[in-house]
Structure formats: structure tokens, C-alpha cells
Amino acid sequence: MAGQPHKIPEQPSEQATIALAPAVSSSKPYQSGKLRRASWLSWIVSDDPPGRFLLNAILLLLLAAFVFAPFLFPGTKALGVASRICIFVILVASYDLMLGYTGIVSFAHTMFFGIGAYGVAIALTQGWVGWGAVILGAAAGAGVSLVLAAAIGILSLRLRAIFFAMITLAVASFAQILAEQWRSLTGGEDGLTFSVPAILKPSFRLFADPVLGVTINGPVITYYLIFIVSLVLFLLMLRIVNSPFGRVLQAIRENEFRVEAMGYQVVAYRTMISALSAVMAALAGTLMALLLGYNGPDATLSFSLMIDILMMVVIGGMGTIYGAVIGSILVILAEYYLRNVLGAVNGAVSGTPFLSALFHPDRWLLWLGVLFVLIVTFFPQGLFGWLRQRR
């Protein structure tokens, strides 16, 4: 409370009790005999499968769709969408580490995304070439993000949540301004265009003949690179949240005073997870740069991207990691294909000017925003969380 010198603990109201997905440890899904036998499968998902039969099936189906994406959805546009989804899954899941598991709201996530992208972009435009440059850029981006996140954490995580959120907004804003102004390094508002390694170029062919009707060219290889790295990082995050470290994080989210009383340094844990989250975001940024062959403030640093991330993590389900998958797929598909739906509706109501403006294809963000508000209000655990809880 603003200015109260005494410390009377708050009696939590119903509103203050955030109905997030229950802590993973308290909702161990039923392990069927089949799963016990396939214990390596269990190990891969760190004993944290999506749910019971239905959810597992859905996620497995999605996984299959991604594995065979170039063959199921041929064409550069579809592949681009799939690549983008993979990258966002990592970006959003890493945000969930902070928001859903530790309860930290930060607006600086896109900043780390941008730093990772600029790492590669700068390396490739400053004279280094090939995979060496990519690795160098990725490491630099991740390193800078780590240090920056740790610094922000140490300086500001002691502050109240709202204060911290506002400060991250200011820092991210500053990074955006810096990127726009420092032309010599970042290309300013126009950004940096660069050549990706040969194997990723559109002209590259892995095999002379098409496989299953699809030419294995640069974009396909790029997609698989992105997909595999994303998958690995995703499983890594599952491991993190299901480790003892992860349990402490969840305990902090529930009641940080208690955790502090038990002897844990809450600020240290929060700083560590922020740093981890930032590194993941930077790696996602690296992938994004490779996908686009370009990076600029609008591609990775904009506030609207931050809002997208928030939407994905909330709609998908906070505190679940899997929610990032659902959320990213839904929101990105909506960005691309909701326009068509709206266009159809628009055609139907073209008589009334107000209604046709309301359902204009460009207003997909309006409807997404409405969905977002509805989910925060009625389904705070998000789609995945809600499905998981229904068992």
C-alpha cells in the first residue's frame, strides 16, 4: 500500500488469487503402463507430459505436423509461417519461465530477442562469414543478453512488480531508440541485410531431385535447423521447470515471503531465471535473423511484438511451457489467416459501414485483443491450462 510504514500482511482476496495452472509438481499426470515402459519418452519431456490421452495426442499430432511440415504444407509462405511459429514457441516459452513460473512481468523480452538477432546480423555484416560468424554472433548476442538481464535483475528485482515492469518498458524503449540511432552498427531504422550461410540460401539444393515431391532447398534446410534448435531448447526448458530449481521458482510465485523465510535468496533465483530467459530469447532472435536474412528495429524490437508475446503466453496458458506452443500457433495463424475470415464476414455485412469497419480484415488485432481480455478474465489459465485441468 502506498506509504504504509508498518507491515501488516495482506489478506488475499479472491481476486488476488491468480488461477494459474496448478504447479506442475502438484498435478502429476497419470502415468499409464505404456508410458512407464517408454521411460525414455518420459525422460525427454522431463516427466511433464502435456496431460492425459487427449492432450498428449494433440501435442504429438502437432509435433508430427512440424516434423513433416515441408511435405504437408509445401510452398515458401507456409514454410515461413511454420518457421516463425517455431521461433515464437521459444520466445514465448522463455517468457513463460518468468511470467508463468516465477510471476515476473517484464517488457524487455523483445530487447533480448533483438540483441540475439543483431548479434548475427552485425557479425555477418561486419566482415565475418559463414557458420563461424553465425556462431560468433549467436554467442555474442546470448552473452550480452545474459549480462544485461542479470544487471537489470540485480538492480531492479527487489522493487515492486509494477515498478519493475515500468522500468523494463523504459529499458526496452531505450534499446529500440539506440538501435534506430546507431546507424553505423545497426543500420538504423532500415536495419541490416546480410547473406546467410550458403546451405540456407534459396538457391541451394541438397539433393538434385525432389524428395516426396518437394525440393530440398535452402528454405527447407533453414526450417529444419530452426525446428530442431527450437525443439531442443523447448525440451531444455521443460527440464528446467521440472528440476528442483524450477520448484523453487514456483514456490516464489506462490508465496515469496515464505520462500525467503526458508532461507532462499529470492532475488538470486529471480535474477537467474531472468538471465536464462533472456538467453533463450536471444537464441530465438538468432534464428529469426537467419530466417529473414535481415534484422531491424521493426522486426524484433517493437512494442507490438511484446504485446504479441503477451497474447500468446496468456491465450496459450501461463505456467505450462506447452501453452507457448498453443498460443504461438493460434496467434500467428490468426495474424496470417484471420484476415481471410474477417474478409468473408466483411463481405456479408458490407451494407452497414460501422459493421464492415468492425469486421475489416485489418482489424484482426481487435478481435485478438477481445479474445485476450476474455481469456484473462474467464480463463486465466489459458487454453492449454484449461484443457489440462479438465481431467
Binding site: M1, A2, G3, Q4, P5, E10, P12, S13, Q15, A16, I18, L99, G103, V105, L159, R160, A161, I162, F163, A165, M166, I167, L169, A170, V171, S173, F174, I177, L178, E180, Q181, F303, I307, L310, M311, V314, F354, A357, L358, H360, D362, R363, L365, L366, L368, G369, V370, F372, V373, V376, T377, P380
Partner: protein, 330 residues
């Protein structure tokens, strides 16, 4: 004796920041530029104060941070467009009185529209998220997006020009320094509103309750005041003020687009942080500080200009982590 002195110095130091900056700028830019820029900075500060003051009171009293505050600024700006459209006869007339009258109408309309929207907003959205900072941030950001999109639905996606009234274009001269005429109007409006707020806060019962509530909400309730009802009133007042700020800012830029609120939002947050959450006086001083910094920086170091306020915020936080004039004991 020296300890008391140190204490006094500590207490009054924050008040010295603004005058020091103003004085330091003088040698750096020469008198002519200094006068113009200082007035420009004060004016910008006034407009920012209109928007920020409501937010700081809302936060101070009920610990609600409304990210959608920017939307009320935008609504105010667009309502101005709709009001000044039919009044084009008054705005193009070479009569100062008619010009000012038109602006007054727009000001009142913007305040009314944003206030009404605020009433609805508090009922539907804010009521659900008292005491839950995470939910507040999420739901108000969502609401911000929705309201902005609705603005596009109603007024279209393109930016709309909002030329200043005839007699308020151009500049007057203070010595050899040019000062935009409109700036003087904005300055006057801002000061008038600030003075009115000060009077209400210090001379009325409701102002007393608000000031007490910002310090200790529970105790005010224990004294028999229904702070919830007071809060609704403050919320509406805050959004109305934001609307007024949007009107003045939009008219000042002579251009209105759906992101006009967003561009102010980060500056408003910086003002809140520098001034101290919940302190109206602190907000006033911080707003002026931010306005001055923006204008001075644009002249002295254009590349840094956009980031100058963020740097200012960082410096202030390093010195006073709770802002310059925080509510409550240290």
C-alpha cells in the same frame, strides 16, 4: 548542528533538480534559444502533467496501474477532431475569442468523452483486477489494444490533420525569442488545471480524503469513508484529464493518429517513476523536468533526444530509488 543541516539538504534537494537543470542549460544554448526552449519545455510538461496526474493518483490511491490510460489520451484527441470539424467556422475565423471558444468546447468534449469511457472502463475492467498486479497489467494492455482498434473502426486508420486555429498559429516574441502562440495557451490551460487540482486537494473534504487515502487506505476506511466510491470518482477524473491532455497534445502536434496515446505513455511512466508514485506534486515537478529535458536534449544532443528522459530516469533512480517525492516514510 551539521547533521540537521544535512537532513534539511536531503529533504530539499529534490526541489533543486529542476531549477539546476534550467540554470545549467542557459550557458549551453544562449539566451534566445534558452527562452524558447524553456517555455516549450514547460508547456510540454503541462500537457504531460494533465495525462500523468490522473494516473499517479489512481495508482497512489488504489494501487491500480492502468496501461490503457494511453487509450483515453487517444480518445480525447479523436473526439477533438470530431468536435472541431463542425466548428471549423470558429477555428478559421480571425477572432481570438472564437478560436479559444472552439478549443474550450473541444477540451470539455474530450474530458467528457474520456470520463464517460473511464466510468464504463472502471466498472467492466478495473473492478475485476483490484489487488492483482499481474492481471491488471495484462487486462489493461489488452483493453488498450481493443480501444485503439475501435478508434480505428470509428475514425479510420489514417492520421487526421488538426490544424491550429487561425489566431493561434505562428509565434509571439519575448525579446528576440520566438514562442509559439499555441504554447502559451497550453501553458495557461495546464497551470489552470494544476491550480484547480491543488485547490480541490487541499481545500475540500474530498481532497482531504484522497490525500489521506494515498497515505493509508485502510485507515481512511476505518474512519468511515467509502474509499471505493472515492476511487471511482478519481478514476473518472483521471481519465477525463487524460482526454484533455490528448486534446491539447493532438492540437499541438496538428496531427492525430491512433498511436498518439502510446507515444505519451512511456514518458508518462517515466514521470510517474521520477516523481514518485502517488504524489501529485511530485508528478507536477517531474512532468516539467521531463518536458524540459526533452526540449533541451533535442537542441543540445539530437541523437540522444529520444532517450534522454530514460537516462534521466536512470539517474534519478540511482539517487532516489523511490522517486524524488515518494509518499510514505523513507
Amino acid at each position: 548542528m551539521s547533521k540537521e543541516w544535512l537532513g534539511r539538504l536531503q529533504q530539499w534537494a529534490p526541489y533543486a533538480v529542476t531549477p539546476l537543470i534550467v540554470l545549467a542549460a542557459l550557458p549551453a544554448m544562449g539566451l534566445t534559444a534558452w527562452v524558447t526552449l524553456t517555455i516549450a519545455g514547460l508547456t510540454m510538461g503541462m500537457m504531460l502533467f494533465l495525462v500523468a496526474s490522473g494516473l499517479t493518483l489512481i495508482f497512489g490511491l488504489m494501487e491500480v496501474l492502468n496501461f490503457a490510460h494511453a487509450a483515453f489520451v487517444t480518445v480525447g484527441a479523436f473526439v477533438t477532431v470530431s468536435v472541431l470539424g463542425p466548428l471549423v467556422g470558429w477555428t478559421t475565423a480571425p477572432s481570438l475569442t472564437l478560436n479559444l471558444l472552439a478549443l474550450l468546447m473541444a477540451l470539455l468534449a474530450a474530458a467528457a468523452a474520456s470520463g464517460a469511457l473511464g466510468f464504463v472502463f472502471e466498472r467492466i475492467i478495473i473492478r475485476q483486477v483490484y489487488g492483482a498486479p499481474l492481471h491488471q497489467i495484462l487486462i489493461t494492455i489488452g483493453a488498450l489494444t481493443v480501444i485503439e482498434q475501435l478508434v480505428i473502426v470509428i475514425w479510420g486508420p489514417d492520421a487526421i490533420a488538426l490544424p491550429k486555429p487561425a489566431r493561434l498559429r505562428g509565434s509571439v516574441f519575448l525579446g528576440s525569442s520566438p514562442i509559439e502562440t499555441y504554447r502559451l495557451v497550453a501553458l495557461f490551460v495546464g497551470l489552470a488545471v494544476a491550480a484547480a487540482m491543488q485547490l480541490i486537494l487541499t481545500r475540500t473534504r474530498i481532497g482531504l480524503v484522497v490525500r489521506a487515502g494515498v497515505e493509508d487506505r485502510e485507515m481512511v476506511q476505518s474512519l468511515g469513508y467509502n474509499i471505493r466510491r472515492v476511487f471511482v470518482g478519481i478514476f473518472i477524473a483521471g481519465t477525463a484529464l487524460a482526454g484533455m491532455g490528448g486534446m491539447m497534445w493532438g492540437q499541438y502536434q496538428a496531427l492525430v493518429n491512433y498511436q498518439i496515446g502510446d507515444s505519451m505513455l512511456i514518458l508518462v511512466f517515466i514521470i510517474l517513476i521520477i516523481g514518485g508514485l502517488g504524489s501529485v506534486g511530485g508528478c507536477f515537478i517531474a512532468a516539467i523536468l521531463v518536458g524540459l529535458t526533452s526540449n533541451y536534449a533535442e537542441f543540445l544532443a539530437p541523437t540522444l533526444a529520444l532517450g534522454s528522459n530514460i537516462l534521466l530516469m536512470a539517474l534519478v533512480l540511482l539517487w532516489r530509488p523511490r522517486g524524488l517525492f515518494p509518499i510514505g516514510e523513507q
